[in-house]
Amino acid sequence: MAVVEVRGIRKMFGDVPAVDGVDLRTEEGEFLVLLGPSGCGKTTLLRMIAGLETPSDGEVFIGGESVNGLPPRIRKIAMVFQSYALYPHMTVFRNIAFPLKAEGLDRDEQREKVEWAAGLLDITRLLERRPRQLSGGERQRVALARALVREPDVFLLDEPLSNLDAKLRAAARDDLLEFQRRVATTTIYVTHDQVEAMGMGDRIAVMNHGKVHQFGTPEHVYNDPADTFVATFLGSPPMNLLHKGKYVVGFRPEQFLPESVANDGGATTGFTYHVNRVEYLGAERYLYGHVRGFDEETKVIAMLPVTVQVPITTDQDHRFAVASDKVRYFLTETGERVDPEMLQAPLRP
């Protein structure tokens, strides 16, 4: 177990910064998620922590010691790759034993440890098979067993679930999380899937264009996004953003409710909502339309849970409202969030 820390880390590919000055520090045994769209530098960051990529600038610490310049094999890390990267010419047993053999353990110790790891992941019956003969979920378990068997200080996981089909993915997510809690090893997990990030991460670092936009707990990044990028990247459908002069007003689709429902005692902010289209999705209704009184006609989505039965007619204005403490404000220029008290002019539409 160890704390991983990166300081001012940067990676240039030619003139393009893939990772552009990132500072992060995990807690002991934490499950940290690097979340961002493809090309945001999250995998490059992970590979620099692993030692597979040399940083152009900055430092990596594992367990308090600088590991700059050290090759992957002496960093006491284990990595699970997107494709699992099992060795196709070896049996499952030999795959899992490979890191042990490289460490120079004798045969009996190897066998003992492989059996322990295989037992933990429930793949003992697969030991004599080859990767080709395994299903996606089984391959993932073998990859995890291979990572686990050396008892590393840190797990690095690079989108390990993205090759599984949707149904299997939910189950695998559950298994992975339970497994991580059991071994309590510091884990850094890269994904572009916000549902995975929200569901698994103790903390999430949201990245874009090589920079960390926000680093915090899932609740924190979801409720108080640091800027408009985080606000729109997290949440499905994303946060509604309305422009007005120097500021951007934001609120989540599920907070945007008919005035009669929204008013539960606290202060509310009201809007005139013109609904164009209603989508019935069983558990909820999605409303598509726009709000009057802002710089341009921005599309606004409202998500009404099935418990809100108010009839909504299309092509008509409705009075909608958001609880005032759920409204977020951002600067138009930089996209950064600002405190409501700092606002220069009231933004009531």
């Binding site: 597979l52 990595m79 990267a85 196709p88 890191p99 490289a102 080859r130």
Partner: protein, 304 residues
């Protein structure tokens, strides 16, 4: 309302695939029949007769010619042994050097394209021309190798590169290796780059050093491609006669004689068409068997 009838495009004979396909294939088939098939059949026929240039009557003698070259011709046995030694040593060298070279060529460094260009050069030169430059390089009096060795004081006099049995054999093997390594290296480069990056990364994270990675990951994963490269090398060395012909003409006293040169000397220069054909065909079944074996191995490893 009038329905606009588009005028029907005329149908050409070439629109018909049953005409077009044979038409496209004909040149290749004709070429193979005329330049490979016919000579091959002719050599089989010749090997079963006692035809000579002076007496080109095709008198059928069965396997008598084969019996004679095998038991009554000591040079044939030397040539057979030489062919074997020569093919095996040259190809072991080719596989090892080409693998090393391929690893250098796939890595990233400054001036990579220039090195690749230089490495491929031997392959682009015609065999006989390239061999003639080697003939000069290995000349018994004017060899630049000797000259360099003399000027640094390692040598007194001359090395008779092509005039002594072992040296001549080594020279022939070296020239052949030099010629085939580029091809094998290019084939192996393809094999190397087909190994997924993540597998290499995984082995590195798993703690494998250079040699472990080489012998337990890259070589096993490349085995089918290495087998194909070795097969090409084997066939190219066994069937080639120009290197030996230009460098030593089989000498000294048949010391570097191989089957292809001996077939030429016997059949064309000596005029014994039947015997020449029999010598040339002698290794055909062996080559077919080796090729089939290697290709099967390569396929099995792919399926795994």
């Amino acid at each position: 309302m009038t329905t606009a009838t588009t005028p029907r495009q005329p149908r050409y004979l070439l629109d018909n695939e049953r005409v077009l396909a044979p038409l496209f294939m004909t040149p290749a088939v004709l070429y193979i029949i005329a330049l490979v098939g016919f000579p091959f059949v002719l050599s089989i026929v010749l090997s079963l007769t006692d035809a000579t240039v002076g007496n080109p009557t095709y008198d059928f003698v069965g396997l008598e010619t084969f019996r004679r070259i095998l038991f009554d011709d000591p040079v044939f046995r030397t040539a057979l042994w030489n062919t074997f030694v020569f093919a095996v040593i040259a190809n072991v060298l080719v596989v090892v050097l080409a693998k090393a070279l391929a690893m250098v060529l796939v890595s990233d460094f400054r001036g990579k394209w220039f090195v690749r260009f230089l490495v491929l050069l031997p392959w682009t030169a015609p065999v006989s021309l390239a061999t003639i430059t080697w003939l000069w390089t290995l000349d018994s009096i004017f060899s630049p190798i000797d000259w360099v060795l003399r000027s640094v004081g390692l040598l007194d006099g001359n090395i008779i590169w092509l005039g002594k049995q072992n040296l001549a054999m080594s020279s022939v093997i070296a020239v052949h290796t030099w010629r085939i390594v580029p091809l094998a290296a290019v084939i192996m480069m393809a094999g190397l780059t087909s190994i997924p990056q993540e597998i290499r990364d995984a082995s590195e994270v798993d703690g494998a050093g250079f040699w472990r990675k080489l012998f337990q990951i890259t070589i096993p994963l490349m085995a089918p491609i290495i087998a194909v490269a070795a097969l090409f090398g084997l066939i190219l060395t066994i069937t080639d006669m120009s290197v030996v012909f230009v460098l030593t003409r089989g000498g000294p006293t048949h010391g570097t004689q191989v089957l292809s040169t001996w077939a030429f000397f016997k059949g064309i220069e000596g005029g014994s068409l039947g015997q020449g054909a029999a010598i040339a065909l002698f290794l055909f079944p062996v080559l077919v068997a080796v090729a089939a074996l290697i290709l099967r191995m390569a396929r099995r490893r792919e399926v795994l």
